[in-house]
C-alpha cells in the first residue's frame, strides 16, 4: 500500500517537473510596451504581457482607440479633410445654435458626460471651455525671466521654508537678491528653484474677461432618431471641452479591449494622471499589485518628486488631479486650470486628489469635479455615492492635511 502511495508521489512529481519545464520553455511570452505621443496632448504608455505577435495586434487596436477619441474630442483643431468622422468638439464649437449630426461614438461619450454633470450637481461641466482657456492663457503668460520688481516664490532643496514670496530687488549672472516681509536675502541663482508671479495686470485682465462670461444660459441638446445622432449647443459663452473626461473615457475603452482579449497582465498610463491596470506579473510575491507613489504636491520640485504616500492597485483604475503641474502664482495662491463651473475661477481647497475605482472615464471626470467642490459638498458626495460608484479617494488639502475615503485600498501615508 505504502509502495503504491510512494509510486504515486513519484509519478506526480515527474509530471509536475515536466509541466514546469515545458511552461518555463514558453519564453516567447514577455512584457511589451508602447508609448503613443500624438494623442490628447499627452503621452500614453501601455505595457502588456503576451507574445510579440499578440502585442503588435493589441497595440495597433489600442492605437486606433486613442486615435479615434483624440480626433473626435479635440477642441483645438477640426477634423482632417479626409476624416471619416462627421464632427468633432472643435467643429461643434464653431457651429452654435445648429443641429449637427455626429458620430455615435461621440454621442455616447457626450451622453455619459452629461450624466456625470447631473451626478455631480454641475461640478463637472463640459460647457466651460472658454473660461478654462482663459486661465490656461494666464498660466502661459507667466514671465519666464525675472526682472527687478518681480515677485518670486522661492523653493530650495535645503530645509528652508518653502514657497516664501519675495520681491526681486537685484539680480545678475550669478546672484539674486530678494526682499521678504522683514528680511533681505541673497541666493546663488543656480541653487534655487523659483516660481515667478504673474503680473497684476495680466491677472486682472484675465479676471475681467472671466467676469464678462455667462454660462448660465448654456444648453447642450443631444437627440437621436433611427440610429442617427445629433447635437445642438446654445449659449453666448458656451464652448465644449471634454478634456477632463476624454482621456479617461478612451482609457476605459482600451482597458475593456484588453480584458475582452483575455489580457490579464497590463498597465495603461495616460499622461500619468489616468492609470488603468490589470495584474502585475513582475510582483508574483506581492499579490500581483501595481505600486503607485503619490507625489507630494507641496514639497515636490520639477526635478525632484517627493512622495507623500504609496498605494497598491490591481484590476483597478485611478485618476489624479492636482494644482502642482500646470499653474501660475498670484498673491500666494496657485492658479491652475481646474475651475469651478459656478465661480469660473480656480479653487484652492485641495492640492491633489487621487481617486481609485473601476471606470477610468468616471474617475477622470470625478477627479476634476471633486477638485472644485467645496469640502462640505465633497464629503456629502462621498457619503452618498462612495459605495454605489465603488470609489476610494485620497485628498491632500492645501492646509497640508490628508483625508482618506478608503475601504480596501492599501494606502501608506508617508507623512504621518
Amino acid at each position: 500500500m505504502a509502495t503504491i502511495f510512494i509510486k504515486k508521489i513519484l509519478l506526480i512529481s515527474t509530471v509536475l517537473a515536466t509541466a514546469i519545464t515545458f511552461s518555463a520553455c514558453k519564453t516567447n511570452e514577455d512584457m511589451h510596451s508602447v508609448t503613443f505621443y500624438d494623442y490628447m496632448y499627452t503621452s500614453i504608455t501601455i505595457s502588456l504581457y503576451g507574445t510579440e505577435q499578440e502585442a503588435d495586434i493589441h497595440f495597433q487596436a489600442l492605437n486606433d482607440i486613442y486615435e479615434t477619441y483624440d480626433a473626435l474630442t479635440n477642441n483645438y483643431q477640426g477634423l482632417e479633410e479626409d476624416s471619416e468622422y462627421l464632427e468633432n468638439i472643435y467643429t461643434i464649437n464653431q457651429q452654435k445654435d445648429t443641429k449637427l449630426e455626429i458620430d455615435k461614438m461621440l454621442y455616447l461619450l457626450l451622453e455619459d458626460a452629461i450624466r456625470l454633470q447631473t451626478l455631480t450637481e454641475g461640478y463637472f461641466n463640459i460647457g466651460i471651455g472658454k473660461p478654462v482657456k482663459a486661465w490656461k492663457n494666464l498660466i502661459l503668460n507667466t514671465p519666464n525671466e525675472i526682472t527687478v520688481g518681480n515677485h518670486i516664490y522661492i523653493r530650495t532643496y535645503e530645509n528652508q521654508p518653502i514657497y516664501q514670496r519675495y520681491e526681486v530687488i537685484f539680480f545678475d549672472e550669478t546672484d539674486i537678491q530678494v526682499q521678504g516681509e522683514d528680511t533681505t536675502r541673497t541666493f546663488k541663482k543656480d541653487q534655487l528653484i523659483y516660481d515667478i508671479e504673474v503680473t497684476t495686470e495680466a491677472f486682472n485682465q484675465t479676471q475681467a474677461v472671466i467676469d464678462t462670461m455667462n454660462i448660465e444660459e448654456n444648453q447642450i441638446i443631444l437627440e437621436s432618431e433611427d440610429e442617427t445622432y445629433f447635437i445642438t449647443i446654445k449659449g453666448s459663452d458656451i464652448e465644449l471641452d471634454v478634456g477632463a473626461f476624454s482621456k479617461g473615457y478612451a482609457t476605459e475603452k482600451a482597458k475593456d479591449y484588453l480584458i475582452e482579449q483575455g489580457v490579464t497582465y497590463f498597465s495603461i498610463s495616460a499622461g500619468s494622471s489616468t492609470i488603468s491596470v490589470g495584474q502585475n506579473i513582475n510582483r508574483p510575491t506581492q499579490n500581483e499589485v501595481y505600486i503607485i507613489s503619490l507625489t507630494d504636491p507641496i514639497t515636490s520640485l520639477p526635478f525632484f518628486k517627493e512622495p507623500y504616500g504609496i498605494i497598491h492597485i490591481k484590476n483597478q483604475s485611478l485618476a489624479t488631479s492636482g494644482n502642482f503641474e500646470q499653474y501660475t502664482m498670484y498673491q500666494g495662491l496657485r492658479y491652475h486650470h481646474l475651475i469651478s463651473p459656478f465661480t469660473l475661477t480656480p479653487t484652492h481647497d485641495y492640492a491633489a486628489l487621487t481617486i481609485i475605482g473601476d471606470d477610468a472615464g468616471l474617475l477622470d471626470a470625478l477627479s476634476t469635479a471633486l477638485f472644485v467642490m467645496p469640502k462640505n459638498m465633497f464629503d456629502a458626495f462621498m457619503e452618498t455615492h462612495q459605495a454605489s460608484l465603488n470609489i476610494q479617494v485620497i485628498r491632500y488639502n492645501t492646509d497640508n492635511t490628508i483625508d482618506t475615503f478608503i475601504t480596501d485600498v492599501y494606502f501608506e501615508d508617508l507623512l504621518s
Binding site: 505504502a2 509502495t3 512529481s13 546663488k188 500619468s272 492609470i275 520639477p302 518628486k305
Partner: protein, 155 residues
C-alpha cells in the same frame, strides 16, 4: 517484513527528494523567468516626463527614448559602449554654448555616476557613484533617477 519496511523508507526518501527537487526547480525558474524585479536607472532631460534614456541593469541594455533638439551636428544623447558612458547636452551654457553631461554606468555594480558636467558648483558630479536615489544636475536640467522595484508609477 523489515525488508519491505526498509524499501518503503527508501522510496519515501526518494519521493520526498524528487518533491524537494521539483519545488527547488520551480522556485529557481520562477525567480529567473518571471521578469524578476527589474532594476534600472532613467535619465531625464528638461521638463520632459519621459526618460530620454534608460539603463537596464538586468538585461544590460541601454535604451534611448528620444533625441534632444540641438543646433549641434552631434546627435544627443549618444552612447559610448567602450567607455560605458552616455552623453547628452545640458542646459548650462559657457560662452553661449550648451555643455555636455557625461554619465557613466556600471552593469556589474549596478551604479551610475555623473562623470563630467559644467556648472558653478558641480553638485551632481561631486555626488559620486550611486546605486539608488537620484542625481540632479540642476543648472543642466538633467536628472538620473535610480528606479528599482519599489514602485511602478509616480503620479
Amino acid at each position: 517484513m523489515s525488508n519491505v519496511s526498509l524499501k518503503t523508507k527508501r522510496d519515501l526518501f526518494l519521493g520526498l527528494g524528487v518533491l524537494v527537487f521539483v519545488l527547488l526547480t520551480w522556485l529557481i525558474l520562477t525567480l529567473t523567468l518571471s521578469n524578476g524585479t527589474a532594476t534600472s536607472a532613467s535619465i531625464y532631460y528638461g521638463s520632459n516626463r519621459e526618460a530620454i534614456a534608460t539603463i537596464d541593469f538586468v538585461s544590460e541594455q541601454i535604451s534611448i527614448h528620444y533625441y534632444q533638439e540641438t543646433e549641434s551636428n552631434t546627435r544627443y544623447p549618444y552612447v559610448d559602449f567602450s567607455n560605458n558612458t552616455i552623453t547628452l547636452l545640458g542646459d548650462y551654457e559657457v560662452d553661449g554654448m550648451r555643455q555636455e553631461v557625461v554619465i557613466t554606468y556600471d552593469f556589474e555594480k549596478q551604479s551610475v555616476q555623473i562623470k563630467e558636467e559644467q556648472s558653478p558648483y558641480n553638485v551632481c558630479s561631486k555626488q559620486g557613484e550611486i546605486t539608488s536615489g537620484a542625481l540632479i544636475c540642476l543648472p543642466n536640467s538633467v536628472r538620473v533617477e535610480f528606479k528599482n522595484a519599489e514602485e511602478d508609477f509616480i503620479l
